[in-house]
C-alpha cells in the first residue's frame, strides 16, 4: 500500500464523489461545489503521478496543476455570477407576481 496507490484511491474517490454530487445535488451552489471537488480530484492524480519520480517531482505536471487551479476558480466565479443573477431575477419576478 504505497503512498502512490493511496493517493490514487483518494483522487479517483474525489472525482467520483464530485461526479455524483453534480448529478444528484438539487441546489445550484452544491453543483458548483461538486465540480470543484472533481477538479481537486484530477489535480491530485496529476500531483501523485509527478511525485513518484525518484529525484525531484516532475515540474511539468506541477505547472499543469497550477494552470488547472486558476482555470477552476475562473469557471467557479463565472458559475456563481450566473447563479447570483438568475437568483436575483427570480427574486424580482417573485416580488412582482405576489
Amino acid at each position: 500500500m504505497t503512498q502512490d496507490s493511496l493517493y490514487i484511491i483518494a483522487s479517483v474517490g474525489l472525482f467520483g464523489i464530485g461526479l455524483y454530487g453534480v448529478i444528484a445535488a438539487p441546489h445550484i451552489l452544491r453543483k458548483i461545489l461538486a465540480i470543484n471537488i472533481m477538479s481537486v480530484g484530477v489535480f491530485m492524480l496529476l500531483v501523485t503521478s509527478a511525485k513518484n519520480v525518484n529525484s525531484t517531482p516532475d515540474p511539468v505536471l506541477h505547472a499543469m496543476v497550477l494552470t488547472g487551479i486558476v482555470v477552476a476558480i475562473a469557471g467557479t466565479a463565472l458559475a456563481l455570477f450566473l447563479a447570483g443573477k438568475i437568483h436575483a431575477l427570480s427574486e424580482a419576478s417573485d416580488e412582482d407576481s405576489h
Binding site: Y20, I73, D96
Partner: protein, 292 residues
C-alpha cells in the same frame, strides 16, 4: 439531472428519484474501482520530461523548475491561461454604461466617481477591524511582493502572489471602508496589463530571436520577472473584480428586462417565452420607467 437551477432551500421536488441516484452511485463506484485497479496495476513509466527540464533549466533564466516551465518552456499555456481569466473578468464587468451621463442615478455603487479605489467614510465601520487591517494589509502586500520575487528561485510566483493581493483587496472591501469601482479606465488597464505585457514581450522577442515567445538567453530572467509582475497585477485585479461583483450583486434595474406577464420560468423547453431579442425591441419602445 440539469433541468432548472433551483434556489429553494433544500427543496426536493426536482431532485432525482432515489432509485436513479442509487444507480448513479453504483455505476460511478464501479467505474471508479475499475480505474483505480487499472492505475495501480500498470506501473507508471518515468517520463523523460523532468530530466529534460533539469538539463535545460540553466538556459531558462530561472532556478525554480515550475516557474521555468510555466513562464519559459510552456509560456503559451500561461498566455492562454491569463486569456481565460480576462474572459471571466469581461463577463463579470459591472454594466459599464458609458453613456452613464444619461441617468446618473445608476443603482448600485457610486459609478460616477471614476477612481478605482475610493474611501467611503460610512459610519458603520468597526474600529478594531480597521485598526487590525491597517496593520495587516501592508504586510500582505509586502508578502505578495516577496512571493513574486522569490518565485524565480524558491516556490512562489505570479499566481500565488496574485491570489495574495486579491486576498488583501477582499479584506479591504470587507472592512466596509474601501469601495472599488471597476468601470474606471485605470481598472480596465489593470485588468488587461498582464495580457498586454505578455503579448508585447512575445512579439518584441520574436523580432530579435525570430521565434515567438523565445527569450534571448541573457534577457530571459528580467523578461520573465517583468511578465510575472504584470501577470500578478492583473490576476489580483481580476480575482478582486469577481469578488467585488459577487459581493455587491445588484441585478439590472428591472426596466432593462421588462418582465413579461408570463415571466415565470416554465419547464418545457419548447415554449420558452422570454428570448433575447424581444427584450431589446420591446425595451427600446416601452418608456424607460424603472419598475421597483
Amino acid at each position: 439531472m440539469f433541468q432548472t437551477p433551483d434556489f429553494k432551500n433544500n427543496s426536493y421536488e426536482n431532485e432525482l428519484p432515489f432509485a436513479t441516484r442509487v444507480l448513479c452511485a453504483i455505476v460511478i463506484g464501479a467505474l471508479g474501482f475499475g480505474l483505480i485497479a487499472a492505475l495501480i496495476l500498470t506501473e507508471n513509466i518515468s517520463s523523460s520530461l523532468p530530466a529534460l527540464v533539469q538539463q535545460k533549466l540553466t538556459q531558462s533564466g530561472v532556478q525554480n523548475p515550475v516557474t521555468a516551465v510555466l513562464l519559459n518552456f510552456r509560456s503559451y499555456d500561461t498566455l492562454l491561461e491569463i486569456g481565460v481569466l480576462l474572459t471571466v473578468a469581461v463577463a463579470m464587468l459591472p454594466n459599464a454604461n458609458f453613456n452613464s451621463d444619461i441617468n446618473p442615478d445608476m443603482p448600485g455603487g457610486n459609478r460616477s466617481s471614476g477612481r478605482l479605489v475610493s474611501v467611503v467614510n460610512s459610519a458603520a465601520g468597526n474600529p478594531p477591524l480597521e485598526a487590525f487591517l491597517r496593520w495587516l494589509i501592508p504586510m500582505i502586500i509586502v508578502m505578495a511582493g516577496y512571493m513574486l520575487w522569490t518565485g524565480t528561485a524558491l516556490p512562489g510566483g505570479a499566481f500565488q502572489s496574485g491570489a495574495l493581493l486579491a486576498g488583501a483587496g477582499v479584506l479591504a472591501q470587507l472592512s466596509g471602508r474601501i469601495q472599488f469601482c471597476f468601470t474606471s479606465t485605470t481598472a480596465k488597464l489593470l485588468l488587461t496589463i498582464g495580457l498586454i505585457t505578455f503579448v508585447m514581450v512575445a512579439i518584441g522577442v520574436a523580432t530579435t530571436t525570430g521565434v515567438v515567445l523565445q527569450y534571448p538567453l541573457e534577457l530571459a530572467a528580467p523578461l520573465i520577472l517583468l511578465v510575472e509582475s504584470a501577470a500578478t497585477l492583473s490576476i489580483a485585479a481580476i480575482l478582486l473584480l469577481s469578488y467585488n461583483t459577487l459581493a455587491t450583486q445588484v441585478f439590472e434595474s428591472p426596466s432593462e428586462h421588462s418582465t413579461f406577464e408570463h415571466s415565470a420560468f416554465d419547464k418545457q423547453p419548447s415554449d420558452v417565452t422570454e428570448t433575447s431579442a424581444p427584450n431589446e425591441t420591446l425595451q427600446s419602445q416601452t418608456a424607460e420607467d424603472p419598475k421597483s
